[in-house]
Symmetry: none
Subunit: 207 residues, 4 copies
DNA sequence: GATGAATGAGCATTCATTCAT
DNA sequence: CATGAATGAATGCTCATTCAT
């Protein structure tokens, strides 16, 4: 962390960029909108960020860094011993994810919506975050599978699918239905995740 | 189909836009790239499309129109009588969706990636397609639920989650793993969709 | 020559750039000044020239191309047989050079003044013109020397010095004293060139 | 010399400016490059120089001040009595000029190349130095002419031409051929200056 | 004198769109 | 329908300069 990165201007610009990109869309937003919102001069922007794209990438990296740190990173598969504990842990993960994303709703919505709509060269960097999350999910599933806690036959395709499920659950909580209780949504997602649409195993699904 | 839509230039432009937007990204792509790729003059573009955004919307609308027409629209819940038939129908849906998206991989990838990264005013139109698909899924689930073929308690949140699952399954088939057999992926998705991660009801999952 | 290079806009821009760069200096001049002077739109500039630097280089290349073509290129050393003919030819060269530069005084002054004050990468290209002219002078001197028409011992250093003499003679004719007759100046330069400051050999100096 | 001019920062900035302007060109060079090279802070620059242009002018003025002081100023025409002494004095002048310019090669090259490519208002000041040098040459020639040591008929045009000869001789010594001995080059220039291209009066040319 | 973060005017360049042919 | 030269508004970015510390 350089002194510059801790400066008030740096924080103000990040917050302003979140708001402006969120409201107008990254591509339609102008740097001059961001600096006006941040209350700093045009040149100050370039003291802190190399380009308009750089601040967007910074927002994205921060978003995923926090999301991983505060959610997936905290729930190791090794901590669960049986199906019941699995359900408890997954429910906690769902709650953590949804609460976290709710707490930074504008940024969450922006990232889910536009992070991949950047120039190809930049996109590869962004998509590494998605790959990493899917990789983590995949590792988690394999660990559970090795423990006999989930069925066999789950490949990385399932990890991607679970990730899609999470993405849209977040979207639902943050955009579609901002009123729903996180716990209620977590319960529904947990049930869907564990037992699918048929899901008569209600005994394990509600810890 | 108007006469205009059948004109060679119109088609060439749509195809060219798909390729160019796919390769460079919608925002980075220039109209001049598209016309160069299409082999027509700059002005010809505006005989067929009102603006750069218009051709993108046209691609998006065509994409969703075809996707709905060739997949979801063809599989009514009313046609299934029991869980076995449901599995059969869902498997067909998965295959249809994945095959269709594989057949227009570039456009599929483009739409999933960038369709929502447009100006807010345009975005509401794009997101109606997503809402419609989720609405269809929701209706389908409610019908199944009414028939007793799926469990109770599925709200529109689950419909969004299932949609996310589909989105990322498509992404997997089109971007991540272009080699995997559609049938194999459909089987894995079907199992996940019906019985979740626990999924010991293997009897219904493989029709 | 593309159709674009023959277009009126192309010519207007070159003329306008000469005037504007001449009046304000290349670096202080804005592209908007040039297009305003040319009476074309801002974007039209970039239809014809890649950048502000490109049009400057174009002016420079045109200048030297014409200068070489209309002066040095037309006077081969092989055409002179004795000292008297040499004096005649050199006098003609002086007149041709001075007349030519007088005919495009603004451009001449601009090039002599600012052509080398560009970014290093561009400068190497510009300085090739100077090197070429000096190389031509050097070749001319060597030919004369071989014919016994000038003294021995003239190296490329003398070629550079003669070039400096020409540069400043042009400067004198174009900037310092615009009224002086080209012939009178040519006579003085010829005398200086052939017999130096001492120069009592007045018999050969005035053909 | 004010205290300011003796301050280490002042000197460091002048030296840094010479190097940076020399390497990147005055216009492409940034003040931040100069202060970085000088190892001082951005604001320190403006304690010592009013503007970027001011330090360039300072370099130019210093350059010409030193050049005049160490060369032309030291060789009065009144000190020569005959043609032989003239040759001796001129040879010493050539050596002094070339040695001096060699000793500050970067600055010399910079000034000859870019000093006149400044905004018109500033240019008049810069060109006064050139005018002054030419004026001095002219005065020197007139004095020699009055003494009967050079031929009649030399006007200020010849003074400009001699100045051009000197400019390019310096350029040759500093840029084109950094290896040549100053004395050898001085001899060649002296010969050219005194007897021109024909120059059979070898008796006077080599003192 | 020295610092260096902040400033903001300035400008080259881009590119979607138009329209005369 | 087709053309493609011309348009000009829009904007990301630079960098000389200032000033509070």
């Amino acid at each position: 962390m350089s002194a510059l990165q801790k400066s008030p201007s740096h924080e103000r610009l990040l917050r302003a960029a979140t708001e402006v990109f969120g409201a107008r869309g990254y591509h339609a937003a102008r740097v001059s909108d961001v600096v006006a919102q941040a209350g700093v001069a045009q040149g100050t922007f370039y003291l802190h960020f190399k380009s308009k794209e750089a601040i967007f990438l910074c927002l994205i990296d921060d978003f995923f860094g926090r999301l991983l740190g505060e959610t997936l990173g905290r729930f190791p598969a090794s901590a669960v011993a049986d199906t019941g504990e699995l359900a408890v842990q997954l429910r906690e993960m769902w709650c953590a994810i949804l609460k976290h994303c709710r707490s930074e709703a504008v940024l969450t919505s922006l990232v889910l919506r536009e992070a991949r709509a950047v120039a190809p060269k930049t996109r590869v960097h962004v998509e590494e975050w998605f790959s990493q999350m899917v990789g983590d999910i995949n590792g988690y599933l394999r660990a559970l599978s090795a423990l006999g806690l989930v069925r066999k036959g789950l490949t990385d395709a399932s990890a991607w699918a679970i990730f899609g499920l999470i993405e849209r659950a977040i979207h639902y909580a943050v955009v579609v239905n901002r009123e729903i209780e996180v716990e209620a949504l977590a319960d529904e997602m947990l049930q869907l995740e564990l037992t699918g649409l048929l899901g008569d195993r209600t005994d394990v699904a509600t810890p």
